[in-house]
Amino acid sequence: MTMQTKRRITEIVLFVITLLVAVIFFFPIFFNLMSAFKSNAEIMRDAVALPKTLYLDSFKYLLTETEFPRAILNSLILTVVAIVAQVLIIPMAGYAIERRNARWTRLVFIYFLAGMMIPFQAYMIPLFKELRILGLYGSLAGPIMIYVAGAVGFGCLLYTSFVKGIPREIEEAAEIDGCSRYGIFWRIVFPLLGPVTASMVVLNGLGIWNDFLMPMLVLPSGQAKTMVVEIYRYIGEFSSRWDMIFAGTAMSVVPVLIVFIFLQKYFVKGIASGATKG
Protein backbone atom coordinates (compact mmCIF):
# COMPACT_ATOMS: atom_id res chain seq x y z
CA MET A 1 0.00 0.00 0.00
CA THR A 2 1.41 3.36 -0.95
CA MET A 3 1.50 6.35 1.39
CA GLN A 4 -1.18 7.96 -0.75
CA THR A 5 -3.78 5.22 -0.40
CA LYS A 6 -2.97 4.82 3.29
CA ARG A 7 -3.63 8.49 3.89
CA ARG A 8 -6.78 8.28 1.83
CA ILE A 9 -8.10 5.44 3.97
CA THR A 10 -7.34 7.33 7.20
CA GLU A 11 -9.20 10.32 5.84
CA ILE A 12 -12.25 8.29 4.94
CA VAL A 13 -12.29 6.44 8.27
CA LEU A 14 -12.06 9.73 10.16
CA PHE A 15 -14.84 11.18 8.03
CA VAL A 16 -17.12 8.21 8.69
CA ILE A 17 -16.51 8.38 12.45
CA THR A 18 -17.15 12.12 12.51
CA LEU A 19 -20.28 11.66 10.46
CA LEU A 20 -21.58 9.00 12.86
CA VAL A 21 -20.99 11.22 15.89
CA ALA A 22 -22.64 14.11 14.06
CA VAL A 23 -25.69 11.98 13.29
CA ILE A 24 -26.00 11.03 16.96
CA PHE A 25 -25.57 14.67 17.94
CA PHE A 26 -28.15 15.93 15.54
CA PHE A 27 -30.68 13.22 16.23
CA PRO A 28 -32.41 14.79 19.29
CA ILE A 29 -32.97 18.03 17.40
CA PHE A 30 -34.26 16.18 14.36
CA PHE A 31 -36.42 14.00 16.61
CA ASN A 32 -37.89 17.09 18.25
CA LEU A 33 -38.76 18.81 14.96
CA MET A 34 -40.07 15.62 13.41
CA SER A 35 -42.28 14.69 16.38
CA ALA A 36 -43.92 18.11 16.28
CA PHE A 37 -45.59 17.04 13.04
CA LYS A 38 -46.87 13.71 14.34
CA SER A 39 -50.12 13.01 16.14
CA ASN A 40 -49.99 11.70 19.67
CA ALA A 41 -50.99 8.22 18.53
CA GLU A 42 -48.21 8.20 15.94
CA ILE A 43 -45.61 9.20 18.53
CA MET A 44 -46.73 6.45 20.89
CA ARG A 45 -46.90 3.81 18.22
CA ASP A 46 -43.50 4.31 16.64
CA ALA A 47 -41.22 7.04 17.96
CA VAL A 48 -38.56 6.57 15.28
CA ALA A 49 -40.85 6.63 12.24
CA LEU A 50 -41.15 9.75 10.11
CA PRO A 51 -44.51 11.55 10.17
CA LYS A 52 -46.94 10.09 7.66
CA THR A 53 -48.72 13.34 7.03
CA LEU A 54 -47.91 16.85 8.05
CA TYR A 55 -49.99 16.87 11.22
CA LEU A 56 -50.55 20.49 12.29
CA ASP A 57 -53.36 20.13 14.83
CA SER A 58 -51.04 20.34 17.81
CA PHE A 59 -49.73 23.70 16.60
CA LYS A 60 -53.26 24.88 15.98
CA TYR A 61 -54.38 23.77 19.43
CA LEU A 62 -51.38 25.35 21.13
CA LEU A 63 -51.88 28.67 19.36
CA THR A 64 -55.64 28.94 19.75
CA GLU A 65 -56.69 27.01 22.85
CA THR A 66 -53.87 27.78 25.27
CA GLU A 67 -52.01 30.80 26.61
CA PHE A 68 -49.00 29.95 24.45
CA PRO A 69 -49.26 32.98 22.12
CA ARG A 70 -49.05 35.25 25.16
CA ALA A 71 -45.98 33.29 26.33
CA ILE A 72 -44.34 33.73 22.92
CA LEU A 73 -44.98 37.46 23.12
CA ASN A 74 -43.55 37.62 26.66
CA SER A 75 -40.42 35.76 25.60
CA LEU A 76 -39.95 38.12 22.68
CA ILE A 77 -40.50 41.26 24.76
CA LEU A 78 -38.18 40.09 27.53
CA THR A 79 -35.42 39.12 25.13
CA VAL A 80 -35.58 42.20 22.92
CA VAL A 81 -36.07 44.84 25.60
CA ALA A 82 -33.51 43.36 28.00
CA ILE A 83 -30.92 43.15 25.23
CA VAL A 84 -31.55 46.71 24.06
CA ALA A 85 -31.27 47.88 27.66
CA GLN A 86 -28.03 45.97 28.10
CA VAL A 87 -26.58 47.56 24.98
CA LEU A 88 -27.65 51.04 26.10
CA ILE A 89 -26.28 50.69 29.62
CA ILE A 90 -23.32 48.29 29.84
CA PRO A 91 -20.93 49.44 27.05
CA MET A 92 -20.98 52.98 28.47
CA ALA A 93 -19.90 51.71 31.86
CA GLY A 94 -17.15 49.55 30.41
CA TYR A 95 -15.88 52.49 28.37
CA ALA A 96 -15.85 54.89 31.30
CA ILE A 97 -14.13 52.38 33.58
CA GLU A 98 -11.36 51.83 31.06
CA ARG A 99 -10.85 55.43 29.94
CA ARG A 100 -11.33 57.28 33.21
CA ASN A 101 -9.03 54.82 34.98
CA ALA A 102 -9.12 56.43 38.40
CA ARG A 103 -8.97 54.77 41.77
CA TRP A 104 -12.74 54.77 42.17
CA THR A 105 -13.43 53.32 38.72
CA ARG A 106 -10.98 50.51 39.42
CA LEU A 107 -12.85 49.77 42.63
CA VAL A 108 -16.17 49.82 40.79
CA PHE A 109 -14.72 47.41 38.24
CA ILE A 110 -13.71 44.92 40.94
CA TYR A 111 -17.15 45.36 42.51
CA PHE A 112 -18.78 44.49 39.16
CA LEU A 113 -16.50 41.53 38.53
CA ALA A 114 -17.33 40.06 41.93
CA GLY A 115 -20.88 39.60 40.63
CA MET A 116 -19.67 37.06 38.11
CA MET A 117 -19.05 34.67 40.98
CA ILE A 118 -22.51 34.98 42.49
CA PRO A 119 -24.80 32.24 41.16
CA PHE A 120 -28.44 33.17 40.61
CA GLN A 121 -29.48 30.66 43.27
CA ALA A 122 -27.55 32.66 45.84
CA TYR A 123 -29.87 35.64 45.55
CA MET A 124 -33.09 34.36 44.02
CA ILE A 125 -34.99 33.93 47.28
CA PRO A 126 -34.76 37.54 48.52
CA LEU A 127 -35.11 38.81 44.94
CA PHE A 128 -38.68 37.64 44.83
CA LYS A 129 -39.52 39.61 47.98
CA GLU A 130 -37.59 42.64 46.77
CA LEU A 131 -39.61 42.87 43.57
CA ARG A 132 -42.78 42.97 45.64
CA ILE A 133 -41.41 45.74 47.84
CA LEU A 134 -40.38 47.78 44.79
CA GLY A 135 -43.78 47.24 43.21
CA LEU A 136 -42.24 45.49 40.21
CA TYR A 137 -43.86 42.14 40.81
CA GLY A 138 -46.25 41.16 38.08
CA SER A 139 -44.74 43.21 35.27
CA LEU A 140 -42.02 42.41 32.77
CA ALA A 141 -39.99 45.40 33.99
CA GLY A 142 -38.65 43.43 36.96
CA PRO A 143 -37.12 40.55 34.97
CA ILE A 144 -35.73 43.02 32.43
CA MET A 145 -33.85 44.92 35.13
CA ILE A 146 -32.64 41.64 36.64
CA TYR A 147 -31.27 40.58 33.25
CA VAL A 148 -29.40 43.86 32.81
CA ALA A 149 -28.04 43.69 36.37
CA GLY A 150 -26.90 40.11 35.86
CA ALA A 151 -24.99 41.00 32.68
CA VAL A 152 -23.02 43.93 34.14
CA GLY A 153 -20.03 41.92 35.39
CA PHE A 154 -19.21 39.95 32.30
CA GLY A 155 -20.28 42.78 29.97
CA CYS A 156 -17.91 45.27 31.58
CA LEU A 157 -15.09 42.73 31.47
CA LEU A 158 -15.65 42.26 27.76
CA TYR A 159 -16.03 45.97 26.92
CA THR A 160 -13.11 47.29 28.99
CA SER A 161 -10.74 44.89 27.24
CA PHE A 162 -11.99 45.90 23.81
CA VAL A 163 -11.98 49.64 24.53
CA LYS A 164 -8.30 49.23 25.45
CA GLY A 165 -7.63 48.31 21.84
CA ILE A 166 -9.14 51.50 20.42
CA PRO A 167 -6.59 54.29 19.94
CA ARG A 168 -7.30 57.34 22.07
CA GLU A 169 -6.22 59.71 19.30
CA ILE A 170 -9.55 59.28 17.56
CA GLU A 171 -11.43 60.44 20.64
CA GLU A 172 -9.04 63.30 21.29
CA ALA A 173 -9.48 64.62 17.79
CA ALA A 174 -13.23 64.60 18.25
CA GLU A 175 -12.91 66.35 21.58
CA ILE A 176 -10.91 69.14 20.02
CA ASP A 177 -13.69 69.48 17.49
CA GLY A 178 -16.03 70.16 20.40
CA CYS A 179 -17.72 66.83 20.68
CA SER A 180 -19.01 65.97 24.16
CA ARG A 181 -18.00 62.77 25.94
CA TYR A 182 -21.47 61.47 25.34
CA GLY A 183 -21.21 62.21 21.63
CA ILE A 184 -17.71 60.77 21.43
CA PHE A 185 -18.89 57.54 22.94
CA TRP A 186 -22.04 57.00 20.91
CA ARG A 187 -20.83 58.42 17.60
CA ILE A 188 -17.22 57.29 17.56
CA VAL A 189 -16.40 54.59 20.09
CA PHE A 190 -19.63 52.59 20.10
CA PRO A 191 -19.62 51.85 16.36
CA LEU A 192 -16.05 50.55 16.70
CA LEU A 193 -17.26 48.14 19.36
CA GLY A 194 -19.68 46.50 16.90
CA PRO A 195 -18.23 42.97 17.00
CA VAL A 196 -18.26 42.81 20.83
CA THR A 197 -21.79 44.15 20.90
CA ALA A 198 -22.89 41.58 18.34
CA SER A 199 -21.40 38.77 20.40
CA MET A 200 -23.01 40.04 23.58
CA VAL A 201 -26.37 40.40 21.86
CA VAL A 202 -26.47 36.88 20.43
CA LEU A 203 -25.10 35.09 23.49
CA ASN A 204 -27.09 36.98 26.13
CA GLY A 205 -30.14 37.07 23.89
CA LEU A 206 -30.19 33.29 23.71
CA GLY A 207 -29.55 33.05 27.43
CA ILE A 208 -32.68 35.11 28.07
CA TRP A 209 -34.75 33.30 25.45
CA ASN A 210 -33.87 29.98 27.11
CA ASP A 211 -33.96 31.14 30.72
CA PHE A 212 -36.25 29.16 32.97
CA LEU A 213 -35.77 29.59 36.68
CA MET A 214 -35.89 33.38 36.98
CA PRO A 215 -39.02 34.05 34.89
CA MET A 216 -40.74 31.10 36.52
CA LEU A 217 -40.09 32.54 39.96
CA VAL A 218 -40.71 36.23 39.44
CA LEU A 219 -43.56 36.31 36.94
CA PRO A 220 -47.00 35.98 38.55
CA SER A 221 -48.66 32.59 38.42
CA GLY A 222 -52.12 32.20 36.94
CA GLN A 223 -51.13 33.70 33.61
CA ALA A 224 -48.72 32.88 30.79
CA LYS A 225 -45.06 33.46 31.66
CA THR A 226 -42.47 32.69 28.97
CA MET A 227 -42.32 29.97 26.31
CA VAL A 228 -39.88 27.81 28.22
CA VAL A 229 -41.84 28.15 31.47
CA GLU A 230 -45.10 27.32 29.70
CA ILE A 231 -43.52 24.25 28.10
CA TYR A 232 -42.39 23.14 31.54
CA ARG A 233 -45.89 23.65 32.91
CA TYR A 234 -47.49 21.69 30.06
CA ILE A 235 -45.10 18.80 30.65
CA GLY A 236 -46.64 18.49 34.11
CA GLU A 237 -50.20 19.29 33.13
CA PHE A 238 -50.67 17.61 29.77
CA SER A 239 -48.37 14.68 30.41
CA SER A 240 -50.16 12.60 27.81
CA ARG A 241 -50.24 15.23 25.05
CA TRP A 242 -46.72 14.78 23.74
CA ASP A 243 -47.63 16.08 20.30
CA MET A 244 -48.58 19.42 21.81
CA ILE A 245 -45.42 19.72 23.90
CA PHE A 246 -43.28 18.80 20.92
CA ALA A 247 -45.01 21.53 18.92
CA GLY A 248 -44.09 23.96 21.70
CA THR A 249 -40.47 22.86 21.92
CA ALA A 250 -40.14 23.06 18.14
CA MET A 251 -41.41 26.64 18.23
CA SER A 252 -38.75 27.42 20.82
CA VAL A 253 -35.92 25.74 18.89
CA VAL A 254 -36.60 26.99 15.36
CA PRO A 255 -35.92 30.71 16.04
CA VAL A 256 -32.62 29.72 17.66
CA LEU A 257 -31.73 27.65 14.63
CA ILE A 258 -32.48 30.56 12.30
CA VAL A 259 -30.50 33.07 14.36
CA PHE A 260 -27.61 30.62 14.55
CA ILE A 261 -27.50 30.02 10.80
CA PHE A 262 -27.36 33.74 10.04
CA LEU A 263 -25.15 34.98 12.87
CA GLN A 264 -22.87 32.01 13.35
CA LYS A 265 -19.57 33.85 13.45
CA TYR A 266 -20.64 36.05 16.36
CA PHE A 267 -21.41 33.04 18.52
CA VAL A 268 -17.99 31.55 17.94
CA LYS A 269 -16.20 34.87 18.38
CA GLY A 270 -18.05 35.59 21.60
CA ILE A 271 -16.95 32.29 23.11
CA ALA A 272 -13.35 32.64 22.02
CA SER A 273 -13.02 36.14 23.49
CA GLY A 274 -14.99 35.20 26.59
CA ALA A 275 -12.83 32.16 27.18
CA THR A 276 -9.51 33.95 27.04
CA LYS A 277 -10.74 36.67 29.35
CA GLY A 278 -12.96 34.61 31.58
Binding site: F15, T18, A22, I29, Y95, I125, M145, S180, A275
Partner: protein, 312 residues
Protein backbone atom coordinates in the same frame (compact mmCIF):
# COMPACT_ATOMS: atom_id res chain seq x y z
CA UNK B 1 -2.56 72.89 19.50
CA UNK B 2 0.76 71.27 20.17
CA UNK B 3 1.72 67.68 19.58
CA UNK B 4 1.60 66.95 23.28
CA UNK B 5 -2.16 67.08 23.04
CA UNK B 6 -2.39 63.99 20.90
CA UNK B 7 0.03 62.00 22.97
CA UNK B 8 -1.33 60.32 26.01
CA UNK B 9 -4.21 61.09 28.24
CA UNK B 10 -2.02 62.46 31.01
CA UNK B 11 -0.17 64.91 28.82
CA UNK B 12 -3.48 65.91 27.32
CA UNK B 13 -4.89 66.80 30.70
CA UNK B 14 -1.69 68.53 31.71
CA UNK B 15 -1.60 70.61 28.52
CA UNK B 16 -4.51 72.87 29.28
CA UNK B 17 -6.88 73.66 32.08
CA UNK B 18 -6.09 70.47 33.97
CA UNK B 19 -8.66 70.86 36.70
CA UNK B 20 -11.58 71.64 34.46
CA UNK B 21 -10.95 68.92 31.93
CA UNK B 22 -10.53 66.27 34.56
CA UNK B 23 -13.61 67.34 36.42
CA UNK B 24 -15.67 67.35 33.27
CA UNK B 25 -14.54 63.83 32.43
CA UNK B 26 -15.17 62.71 35.96
CA UNK B 27 -18.79 63.77 35.90
CA UNK B 28 -19.22 61.96 32.60
CA UNK B 29 -17.62 58.81 33.96
CA UNK B 30 -19.99 58.91 36.88
CA UNK B 31 -22.93 59.37 34.57
CA UNK B 32 -21.79 56.51 32.32
CA UNK B 33 -21.28 54.07 35.16
CA UNK B 34 -24.26 55.03 37.32
CA UNK B 35 -27.05 53.07 35.56
CA UNK B 36 -25.03 49.83 35.65
CA UNK B 37 -24.01 50.52 39.22
CA UNK B 38 -27.55 51.10 40.43
CA UNK B 39 -29.11 48.11 38.70
CA UNK B 40 -26.30 45.78 39.70
CA UNK B 41 -26.41 46.92 43.30
CA UNK B 42 -30.17 46.74 43.50
CA UNK B 43 -30.70 43.40 41.77
CA UNK B 44 -27.56 41.43 42.56
CA UNK B 45 -25.81 42.79 45.62
CA UNK B 46 -28.81 43.78 47.75
CA UNK B 47 -30.57 40.39 47.34
CA UNK B 48 -27.27 38.56 47.93
CA UNK B 49 -26.85 40.49 51.17
CA UNK B 50 -30.47 39.59 51.92
CA UNK B 51 -29.56 35.92 51.46
CA UNK B 52 -26.69 36.20 53.90
CA UNK B 53 -29.08 37.64 56.47
CA UNK B 54 -31.89 35.15 55.79
CA UNK B 55 -29.54 32.19 56.07
CA UNK B 56 -29.47 32.83 59.83
CA UNK B 57 -33.26 32.80 60.13
CA UNK B 58 -36.08 30.29 59.97
CA UNK B 59 -38.13 32.39 57.52
CA UNK B 60 -40.80 30.54 55.55
CA UNK B 61 -40.93 33.07 52.74
CA UNK B 62 -44.41 34.39 53.45
CA UNK B 63 -44.98 35.44 57.03
CA UNK B 64 -43.60 38.65 58.46
CA UNK B 65 -42.11 36.65 61.31
CA UNK B 66 -38.41 36.39 60.49
CA UNK B 67 -36.76 34.75 63.47
CA UNK B 68 -33.01 34.72 64.01
CA UNK B 69 -31.84 31.19 64.76
CA UNK B 70 -28.05 31.55 64.61
CA UNK B 71 -26.18 28.78 62.87
CA UNK B 72 -29.00 26.24 63.18
CA UNK B 73 -29.50 26.09 59.38
CA UNK B 74 -25.84 25.41 58.79
CA UNK B 75 -25.79 22.75 61.50
CA UNK B 76 -28.74 21.11 59.75
CA UNK B 77 -26.85 21.09 56.45
CA UNK B 78 -24.20 18.91 58.03
CA UNK B 79 -26.74 16.59 59.65
CA UNK B 80 -29.54 16.12 57.13
CA UNK B 81 -29.12 12.90 55.10
CA UNK B 82 -31.08 14.49 52.25
CA UNK B 83 -28.61 17.38 52.01
CA UNK B 84 -25.70 14.97 52.31
CA UNK B 85 -27.12 13.02 49.40
CA UNK B 86 -27.57 16.20 47.35
CA UNK B 87 -23.99 17.24 48.10
CA UNK B 88 -22.74 13.80 47.15
CA UNK B 89 -24.74 13.95 43.89
CA UNK B 90 -23.36 17.40 43.16
CA UNK B 91 -19.81 16.14 43.67
CA UNK B 92 -20.30 13.01 41.56
CA UNK B 93 -22.09 14.94 38.83
CA UNK B 94 -19.51 17.71 38.73
CA UNK B 95 -16.52 15.36 38.52
CA UNK B 96 -18.14 13.10 35.93
CA UNK B 97 -19.41 16.00 33.85
CA UNK B 98 -16.08 17.84 33.85
CA UNK B 99 -14.26 14.70 32.73
CA UNK B 100 -16.77 13.56 30.12
CA UNK B 101 -17.44 17.00 28.69
CA UNK B 102 -13.77 17.77 28.28
CA UNK B 103 -12.92 14.39 26.79
CA UNK B 104 -15.84 14.71 24.37
CA UNK B 105 -14.91 18.30 23.55
CA UNK B 106 -11.26 17.46 22.81
CA UNK B 107 -12.32 14.49 20.69
CA UNK B 108 -14.79 16.62 18.72
CA UNK B 109 -12.29 19.43 18.32
CA UNK B 110 -9.75 16.97 16.90
CA UNK B 111 -12.37 15.54 14.55
CA UNK B 112 -13.41 18.96 13.29
CA UNK B 113 -9.79 20.06 12.98
CA UNK B 114 -8.64 16.98 11.06
CA UNK B 115 -11.65 15.94 9.01
CA UNK B 116 -11.42 16.74 5.32
CA UNK B 117 -14.97 17.36 4.24
CA UNK B 118 -17.83 19.43 5.69
CA UNK B 119 -15.69 20.80 8.50
CA UNK B 120 -17.91 23.83 9.22
CA UNK B 121 -21.08 21.78 9.09
CA UNK B 122 -19.70 19.34 11.66
CA UNK B 123 -18.58 22.16 13.90
CA UNK B 124 -22.04 23.70 13.75
CA UNK B 125 -23.77 20.40 14.52
CA UNK B 126 -21.58 19.77 17.58
CA UNK B 127 -21.99 23.32 18.80
CA UNK B 128 -25.68 23.86 18.19
CA UNK B 129 -27.07 21.94 21.22
CA UNK B 130 -25.34 24.42 23.55
CA UNK B 131 -27.68 27.14 22.29
CA UNK B 132 -30.86 25.38 23.31
CA UNK B 133 -32.90 25.55 26.49
CA UNK B 134 -32.15 22.90 29.11
CA UNK B 135 -35.88 22.53 29.70
CA UNK B 136 -36.69 21.99 26.04
CA UNK B 137 -33.88 19.56 25.36
CA UNK B 138 -34.33 17.88 28.72
CA UNK B 139 -37.90 17.09 27.67
CA UNK B 140 -36.73 15.78 24.30
CA UNK B 141 -34.18 13.55 26.04
CA UNK B 142 -36.79 12.36 28.52
CA UNK B 143 -38.91 11.34 25.53
CA UNK B 144 -36.00 9.59 23.87
CA UNK B 145 -35.27 7.68 27.08
CA UNK B 146 -38.92 7.00 27.97
CA UNK B 147 -39.40 3.45 29.19
CA UNK B 148 -42.45 2.52 27.12
CA UNK B 149 -42.44 4.73 24.04
CA UNK B 150 -38.88 6.03 23.90
CA UNK B 151 -36.64 5.86 20.86
CA UNK B 152 -33.70 4.47 22.77
CA UNK B 153 -35.42 1.37 24.10
CA UNK B 154 -37.09 0.90 20.72
CA UNK B 155 -33.68 0.87 19.02
CA UNK B 156 -32.27 -1.49 21.65
CA UNK B 157 -35.12 -3.92 21.01
CA UNK B 158 -34.82 -3.76 17.24
CA UNK B 159 -31.11 -4.58 17.28
CA UNK B 160 -31.68 -7.53 19.57
CA UNK B 161 -30.61 -5.96 22.84
CA UNK B 162 -34.10 -6.10 24.31
CA UNK B 163 -32.77 -7.64 27.51
CA UNK B 164 -30.94 -4.42 28.33
CA UNK B 165 -34.04 -2.26 28.39
CA UNK B 166 -34.37 -0.32 31.63
CA UNK B 167 -36.34 2.62 32.92
CA UNK B 168 -33.59 5.16 32.30
CA UNK B 169 -35.18 7.95 34.33
CA UNK B 170 -37.31 6.04 36.83
CA UNK B 171 -34.55 3.73 38.03
CA UNK B 172 -32.28 5.52 40.51
CA UNK B 173 -29.30 3.56 39.22
CA UNK B 174 -29.60 5.04 35.74
CA UNK B 175 -31.40 8.35 36.30
CA UNK B 176 -28.21 10.17 37.25
CA UNK B 177 -26.33 8.70 34.30
CA UNK B 178 -29.10 9.79 31.93
CA UNK B 179 -28.96 13.35 33.22
CA UNK B 180 -25.17 13.39 32.93
CA UNK B 181 -25.10 12.06 29.37
CA UNK B 182 -27.78 14.44 28.13
CA UNK B 183 -25.84 17.30 29.73
CA UNK B 184 -22.64 16.22 27.99
CA UNK B 185 -24.57 16.28 24.72
CA UNK B 186 -25.77 19.77 25.50
CA UNK B 187 -22.55 21.23 26.89
CA UNK B 188 -19.54 19.70 25.15
CA UNK B 189 -19.86 21.79 21.97
CA UNK B 190 -19.11 24.97 23.88
CA UNK B 191 -15.76 23.67 25.10
CA UNK B 192 -15.06 22.22 21.67
CA UNK B 193 -14.97 25.76 20.27
CA UNK B 194 -12.38 26.76 22.89
CA UNK B 195 -10.26 23.67 22.24
CA UNK B 196 -10.56 24.23 18.52
CA UNK B 197 -9.13 27.73 18.94
CA UNK B 198 -6.33 26.17 21.00
CA UNK B 199 -5.65 23.52 18.34
CA UNK B 200 -5.48 26.09 15.60
CA UNK B 201 -2.88 27.98 17.61
CA UNK B 202 -0.47 25.03 17.57
CA UNK B 203 2.18 25.53 14.90
CA UNK B 204 1.87 22.97 12.10
CA UNK B 205 5.66 22.53 11.95
CA UNK B 206 5.74 20.75 15.31
CA UNK B 207 3.59 17.88 14.09
CA UNK B 208 5.40 17.75 10.77
CA UNK B 209 8.78 17.53 12.48
CA UNK B 210 7.54 14.80 14.80
CA UNK B 211 6.11 12.94 11.84
CA UNK B 212 9.49 12.99 10.09
CA UNK B 213 11.07 11.67 13.27
CA UNK B 214 8.68 8.75 13.04
CA UNK B 215 6.11 9.66 15.68
CA UNK B 216 2.70 8.10 15.08
CA UNK B 217 -0.66 9.83 15.43
CA UNK B 218 -1.15 8.88 19.08
CA UNK B 219 2.40 9.86 20.02
CA UNK B 220 1.97 13.22 18.34
CA UNK B 221 -1.23 13.79 20.28
CA UNK B 222 0.26 12.61 23.55
CA UNK B 223 3.50 14.61 23.36
CA UNK B 224 2.64 17.67 21.27
CA UNK B 225 -1.06 18.43 20.96
CA UNK B 226 -2.16 17.49 24.45
CA UNK B 227 0.49 19.49 26.38
CA UNK B 228 -0.06 22.51 24.16
CA UNK B 229 -3.80 22.41 24.86
CA UNK B 230 -3.14 22.93 28.57
CA UNK B 231 -4.14 26.60 28.42
CA UNK B 232 -7.51 25.85 26.83
CA UNK B 233 -7.95 23.00 29.26
CA UNK B 234 -7.63 25.17 32.37
CA UNK B 235 -10.29 27.51 31.03
CA UNK B 236 -12.60 24.67 29.98
CA UNK B 237 -12.17 22.78 33.25
CA UNK B 238 -13.14 25.79 35.33
CA UNK B 239 -16.04 26.80 33.08
CA UNK B 240 -17.42 23.26 32.94
CA UNK B 241 -16.99 22.86 36.69
CA UNK B 242 -18.96 26.00 37.47
CA UNK B 243 -21.71 25.17 34.98
CA UNK B 244 -21.91 21.59 36.30
CA UNK B 245 -22.39 22.96 39.82
CA UNK B 246 -25.29 25.07 38.58
CA UNK B 247 -27.09 22.40 36.54
CA UNK B 248 -30.80 22.79 37.12
CA UNK B 249 -33.07 22.69 34.05
CA UNK B 250 -32.33 19.12 33.02
CA UNK B 251 -33.04 17.82 36.52
CA UNK B 252 -36.25 19.84 36.75
CA UNK B 253 -37.67 18.34 33.60
CA UNK B 254 -36.09 14.87 33.50
CA UNK B 255 -36.47 13.61 37.08
CA UNK B 256 -37.67 16.48 39.29
CA UNK B 257 -34.97 15.38 41.72
CA UNK B 258 -36.48 11.92 41.92
CA UNK B 259 -37.07 9.10 42.21
CA UNK B 260 -37.48 10.14 45.84
CA UNK B 261 -34.65 12.57 46.45
CA UNK B 262 -32.17 10.44 44.51
CA UNK B 263 -31.10 12.92 41.84
CA UNK B 264 -31.30 16.14 43.82
CA UNK B 265 -28.27 18.38 43.60
CA UNK B 266 -27.34 21.45 45.58
CA UNK B 267 -28.98 23.90 43.16
CA UNK B 268 -32.06 21.75 42.94
CA UNK B 269 -32.48 21.33 46.67
CA UNK B 270 -32.15 25.11 47.15
CA UNK B 271 -35.12 25.59 44.86
CA UNK B 272 -37.12 22.70 46.30
CA UNK B 273 -36.61 23.71 49.90
CA UNK B 274 -37.11 27.42 49.28
CA UNK B 275 -40.13 27.38 46.99
CA UNK B 276 -41.61 23.89 47.24
CA UNK B 277 -41.37 23.42 50.98
CA UNK B 278 -41.35 27.07 52.01
CA UNK B 279 -38.24 26.91 54.14
CA UNK B 280 -36.54 29.92 52.65
CA UNK B 281 -34.20 30.49 55.59
CA UNK B 282 -32.79 27.02 55.12
CA UNK B 283 -32.79 27.48 51.34
CA UNK B 284 -30.63 30.60 51.58
CA UNK B 285 -28.23 28.80 53.92
CA UNK B 286 -27.80 26.13 51.22
CA UNK B 287 -27.37 28.89 48.66
CA UNK B 288 -24.51 30.30 50.74
CA UNK B 289 -22.78 26.93 50.58
CA UNK B 290 -23.09 26.95 46.78
CA UNK B 291 -21.75 30.51 46.65
CA UNK B 292 -18.80 29.55 48.83
CA UNK B 293 -17.92 26.59 46.61
CA UNK B 294 -17.99 28.74 43.47
CA UNK B 295 -15.97 31.42 45.23
CA UNK B 296 -13.26 28.94 46.19
CA UNK B 297 -13.08 27.52 42.66
CA UNK B 298 -12.82 31.00 41.17
CA UNK B 299 -10.07 32.08 43.56
CA UNK B 300 -8.09 28.94 42.77
CA UNK B 301 -8.63 29.57 39.07
CA UNK B 302 -7.38 33.15 39.27
CA UNK B 303 -4.29 32.07 41.23
CA UNK B 304 -3.65 29.21 38.85
CA UNK B 305 -4.07 31.30 35.72
CA UNK B 306 -1.80 34.02 37.05
CA UNK B 307 0.91 31.46 37.74
CA UNK B 308 0.55 30.11 34.26
CA UNK B 309 0.82 33.55 32.70
CA UNK B 310 4.13 34.08 34.50
CA UNK B 311 5.43 30.81 33.15
CA UNK B 312 4.50 31.58 29.58
Amino acid sequence: MTTSIVNTDKSFIAAEKPGKKKKKWQSYALLFILPSFLLYTLFVIVPTAGSVYLSFTSWDGISSDIRYIGFANFVEIFQSPRVQNALKNTLVMTITLVLLENIAAIAMALMVDKVRWFRNLFRSIFYFPTLLSGIVMGFVWAMILNYNFGVFNQILTSVGLGDYIVDWLGNPKYAMLSIILSTVWKGAGYYMIIYLAGLQGIPQELNEAASIDGAGGWQQFRHITFPLLAGSMTVCMVLSMISALKIFDQIAVMTDGGPGFETETLTYIIYKVGFGELRQGFGTALAMVLFLIILIITVIQVKFLQKREVQL
